[in-house]
Amino acid sequence: MTTDILDRPDAAAADEQQVLVTLTVADQLCGVPVLAVRDILGEQTITRIPLAPPEIAGSLNLRGRIVTAIDLRRRLHLPPAPPNQPRMSVVAEQGGELYALLVDQVSEVLSLEAAQFERNPPTLEKTWAAFSTGIYRLDGRLLVVLDVSKLLALAEEG
């Protein structure tokens, strides 16, 4: 597995450490690079956008800017969140636009060693593999590193 890591041209191998914001979606622990995150929001009023793709939860107002909210559960083809469950948002910027990823819970910021990093197991479900750059082995849990730009690349997929 070590060779795998060294083979990886991008991501963790090059840097000693990666700093991730950890979050939970449908009980799965995930992480996004802290530098990709602009804001973490608590529960927000979200305006539904009719006729929009199902992944789009709506739009919200972040200090005067309109942010498009993407439901991460839907994006990852997970079952919808139970009603009334409060959701948190991770705000990221792409192409000058702000997007909010709706997640169940945002937990903490972790600094992780490259040695703990592994690429996606080939058996990982396609929907996950498409959005993940790799996995960190934590004590007792696995953390999936999400690729924010791919998550936000809804437009290109049409």
Binding site: T45, P50, A52, S59, G64, I66, G95, E97, A155
Partner: protein, 860 residues
Amino acid sequence: MDDLLSDFLTETNESLAELDVALVTLERTPDDAETLSGIFRLVHTIKGTCGFLGLPRLEHVAHAGENVLGKLRDRTLAVTPAIVSLVLAAIDRIKAIVGALAATGVEPPGDDSELIAALNAAAAGEAAPAPRPQPETAAAPEPAPVAAEPPPPPPEAKAPAAEKPAEPAAANAPQAAQTIRVTVDVLEDLMTLVSELVLTRNQLMQLARTQDNSPFTVPLQRLSHITSDLQEGVMKTRMQPIGNAWNKLPRLVRDLSHEMGKKIELTMLGADTELDRQVLEMIKDPLTHMVRNSGDHGLETPAQRRDAGKPETGNIVLNAFHEGGHIILEISDDGRGLPVDRIRAKALASGLATEAELAAMTDGQIERFIFRAGFSTATTVSAVSGRGVGMDVVKTNIEKIGGTIDLKSTPGQGTTFIVKIPLTLAIVSALIVEAAKERFAIPQISVVELVRALRDQGNGAGSAGESLIERINDTPVLRLRNRLLPLVSLAELLKLGVEDTADGAAHIVVAQVGQHMMGIIVDRVFDTEEIVVKPVAPILRHVTMFSGNTILGDGSVIMILDPNGIARGTGAGAGSESKLLQGARIDTQTSADQTAMLLFRAGGSQRMGVPLGLVARLEDIPREKIEFSCGATVTQYRGKLMPLIAIDGGTGSDKPTQPLLVFADGERIMGLMVDEIIDVVDDKLDIELAGSRPGLLGTAVIGGAATDVLDTGYWLTQAWQDWFRNVPRQGASADQKHVLMVDDSDFFRQLMVPILGAAGFRVTAVGSAAEALRLREAGKKFDAIVSDIEMPNMDGLKFARTLRSGGAWADIPLIALTAHDGIEHAEAGRDAGFTDYVAKFEREALVASLRNSLSQLVPA
């Protein structure tokens, strides 16, 4: 001091500051053509403006300076430090005069003849003697520091103004404080901050409401009012009626008419059209240029007008209006039109195009040469115009704000320039409505009226005076003042998942979309609000129902409905009458058969259609792949260069990708740039209204909505003048007459059927002479036949001979279509029995020939 003068001073001071920097740059990089033309334009503008303000001293100095700069730009003079110093001296003199002007309101007396002589000598190519600085300018400081907002006039001039307020300069002192230029970014930031403030205020108010007798109540009230005022104020800072940019024009036109000895009447329409301040600033100068051009080049002298049988007084009309999220500005004159021949000659002479290229261009393309840098057809350089800085500056400035410019010119009847400027920053007034518990904004501009109506309940007659929503097979309609208004339910349209609440009254927002009216059913109508339109996120752009989104005063995000999109989405735009017409019209053979039509939007928000069979492919290319070559837009497509044509003449929107319809025939391909591809529908192609615009065949009802049908032939020739040579042929027609068209090319059959249909013929098209003969054997009757010459197996000549040799069709008018227009071909055709011989791309000639042949047939 009048407004014009103070505007001029602000402007000129800015220009002068730029000039200093630019000239120094020029000295370092004498070959930089861009810097040079920038300098030239600045001086030209100064000269042009002061000419109209009656500032002879300034004008003369600027004129002489401009002459030198013109020579530099044309490379007839080399940029040397001596010349740059000379030009700088001229600029310093201008500064001194402007400084004095600002202080006293009049040009100071003084003699510039030495400087002007030096400039003229330099322009004539003589060694430039350094002019002795005039005492007045001697004190002028080195190039003014650029950082200062209005570059300070020489301190000398300023000081007396401050110290001696009794002088006429006193009037000027407060003036300087009256206007200040602020970047839009600052206003944007203010706007965002104010929105935040409003939110916070609202939250505070909410808190305060829960507490009785809170000591905060009163201060909060005040805070609330101040916040509202502040919000309003910030909004206001950005909008101005376009009339502000027109203030100068009446005087300009008046002076112009005196100077040129012409009689000119200026009409200004839509002066209260509001547009963003920055946009306004940017179009002021182009507008002035264009009006000046219209007066100078466009309009004839009274004598010429009389000879042409026109009233002596020429008209210049300015018209501004909103259209589909844009502001359209039209500047038209009823003068002589653009001199296409002279433009062609000039383009050739200045090397902008070769003779072959020019030969391949339409008049419209040639006319657009006037937008090129350094292009002017005026044979003499006048103080008014003719130096070739006119239209290219105009175009550059308009494109800088994301606008487009186009022109229409009819020889002898005048020229119209059409400027289209986007409204992206604009604040619009919108009606806030609710459907299925969700709120939406509808731009007030398209709302005609609001009607309260009862929802249909078991078809019971509505109580007197109450309108009732009735249904025709589930389609809601409303009787409104003896007309039937088509309705759409917002909740259904947007799939909000809730049925129209069955009980109670609904509100109907009557909206105007183009020429059509439509009613939008909503549950509630709130207030109107001024909203700042923000574009929707890129991933939502395909939802055409929305034109943007916005944040309301209470902080919630709401979507802005686009009535055009709604009309398209429902087909309500066409109205009921045209549908009836469509039903009444019967069997128009091929042209009434179901045709797969590709629907798209282009040239603004028009809905357009083209037979799908004509389109080779649909592409979406990244905008950066669009390239410019020889003044044409092209892209690399499958290893070749493909010409790109835009329907509105521009290069499309600023979206990251550009949808294209690719037309291909043999080796030739072209891409037609459209705004958006909507759909493909099967419908009858019945052109109801013949098109008056080039490029459109007319209007048809397709998919239930009025759709402009593209004249593919027109656009093909825009890309390839000779498109129709070496290509196959087409078929027949009749004027409710029935025409048979024989052509082996699918492409041309597809092309010609709508064209002939538009001309009033019924068309049957077949792909070979053999098929045509089978129709004859089957006993079909036609009024005329249009046939290709070059076809496989039986060619057109043989076909003609076969027909003429006897049988049911022996006497039918037979028209040949060919790409060869040689006389011998025509002879051969006549010998074979063709009645007439028409070149393939001459569609009008074909229609004329058909009419002609058919009228001979019918005894008068």
